[in-house]
């Protein structure tokens, strides 16, 4: 039921006294396939996340990946790698504005349907003070509404109604990586971005939908950084150093 700590878990440290809310039949961090039984719920104060499905009190995996657990949030989920993004609330995404539809923008966030962004969801916006964003512009936004029955909705304000980095991204270049790579780049331990930062200066916005926006001083730098990020998904830190040591 309890698991011992392992160096591969950088999510949470496990101590042997920890009481899990699920009577686990697999180890946290192990690989699971759809249909694998995960365990039985023993404590109702638990959150079952993406990749898991609940049937009365039994939990099954429905996606391939590694079982992860967050002690603070009592949250279980399956972390797998896929290309198509599934919008989830509180995710930060890089979207491309498709068109203006009345009082809303239709934004492509690489999910199954485009998301709506209200023109009032910006800091300091009101009926009289409206922001216009041209079609095709990239924006950084937060997913506010996402479930299987509705179109997802995004907003360009933080929870305290401040801009906080959200909004239109000026200039720069947008490209796509896999969801897993985007997630690893958002962690503070990402070696790739630190190593790039030591060589050149640039602005970056990583979306949990697998889209990355970068902006730097000139085009050559931008292209080089984009290429490095795209190939850097499976490279170890020493391999990254080798690539970056070549003349820029």
């Amino acid at each position: 039921m309890t698991t011992s700590s392992s160096s591969s878990h950088n999510e949470e440290e496990m101590d042997d006294n920890h009481h899990h809310a699920i009577d686990l039949s697999v180890k946290i961090g192990s690989f699971v396939l759809p249909g694998d039984p995960i365990g039985k719920i023993t404590d109702l104060k638990v959150r079952i996340g993406p990749g898991l499905s609940q049937n009365k009190d039994l939990i099954n995996a429905i996606k391939p990946g590694f079982i992860k657990y967050s002690k603070i949030h009592k949250f279980y989920w399956v972390e797998g790698n896929q290309k198509r993004y599934e919008p989830a609330v509180e995710d930060m995404v890089v979207g491309i504005v498709l068109e203006k539809y009345g009082d809303n923008y239709k934004v492509d966030i690489d999910g199954s349907v485009p998301a709506t962004l209200s023109i009032l969801s910006f800091e300091g916006a009101s009926r009289r003070n409206k922001l216009t964003i041209p079609n095709g512009a990239p924006i950084y936004a937060r997913v506010a509404v996402a479930n299987k029955d509705f179109e997802p909705e995004i907003v360009c304000v933080s929870q305290k109604n401040k801009a906080d980095g959200y909004g239109e991204l000026m200039g720069g270049f947008v490209f796509q990586v896999s969801i897993g790579h985007a997630l690893s780049m958002m962690k503070p331990t990402c070696y790739l971005l630190k190593a790039l930062g030591n060589i050149t200066s640039f602005e970056i916005a990583v979306g949990m939908n697998g889209r990355v926006w970068i902006n730097s001083a000139n085009i050559l730098d931008t292209i080089s950084i984009a290429n490095t990020i795209m190939v850097g998904e499976y490279l170890t830190p020493s391999q990254i150093d080798v690539i970056l040591s070549k003349p820029w």
């Binding site: 690989f31 249909g35 499905s53 996606k63 391939p64 797998g80 790698n81 199954s112 299987k148």
Partner: protein, 231 residues
């Protein structure tokens, strides 16, 4: 009937209950959400999964629509390919959790690269691998196996016998062909799809179901290794 003639060999040297070597490559198509190239011996199939994407006129309000396109190696697709598409779709509808993606469409394109028998099984196994590669939510994983009953021949098998995973020459000579798909359950494997052509006894059919259960559990382990390595 299957145990009694366990010593008999087939053209390619396999024994009755032996499958050909299976191999797969995942995520090889850049533009598809998921893809898998799978081969059983020389029978090779490439499957691309697109979706879930926005569905228009064919949308259901409570679940995803599954669209299967089977492309033969040469020539335009005919009625036999339509039948394969229909069978794949009804089998996959039992595996894919379509209620998690209402008003969307999940498209699977199955391209036959080489057909050396058991191509329907290879197609179905490739579809499952491609769906796993794409991260489409599934209730469980599935696997498919095929059987053929070969006619008696004076030198090799005087009574005629059943083989697992027939190659093309064995299929063409077969009196009976059985194709089964299994879903992995807590107890083992459960048949979710079956097509049998020819005259056979109950015993023969259920013997095949049993051997198929064992063979599909091997395929399940293979699927696990393939996905774990990719991760």
């Amino acid at each position: 009937e299957m145990e009694a003639q366990a010593g008999l060999e087939r053209e390619d040297g396999r024994n009755q209950q032996q499958m050909r070597p299976i191999m797969t490559e995942l995520g090889l198509l850049v533009r598809a959400d998921g893809s898998a190239r799978f081969s059983q011996g020389k029978s090779t199939v490439l499957v691309a999964v697109y979706g879930p994407t926005e569905a228009r006129k064919s949308a259901h309000i409570d679940r995803a629509v599954i669209d299967v396109i089977w492309r033969p190696r040469v020539g335009p697709s005919g009625y036999e390919d339509r039948e394969k598409e229909g069978r794949l779709r009804t089998t996959l509808e039992q595996i894919i959790l379509t209620s998690l993606h209402p008003r969307t469409c999940i498209t699977l394109v199955v391209q036959v690269i080489q057909d050396d028998g058991s191509i329907m099984s290879a197609g179905m196994n490739a579809c499952i691998l491609a769906l796993l590669d794409a991260g489409v939510p599934l209730a469980s994983i599935a696997a498919s196996v095929s059987f053929a009953v070969l006619p008696p021949s004076p030198h090799h098998h005087p009574r005629g016998f059943v083989v697992l995973d027939p190659c093309l020459s064995e299929s063409e000579a077969a009196l009976v062909e059985i194709n089964l798909a299994y879903k992995r359950t807590r107890e083992g494997a459960e048949v979710i799809s079956c097509k049998a052509i020819g005259t056979m006894t109950d015993d023969l059919f259920f013997a095949c179901v049993d051997v198929g259960q064992f063979a599909s559990s091997k395929i399940f382990n293979f699927i696990r290794c393939a996905l774990e390595e990719k991760a």
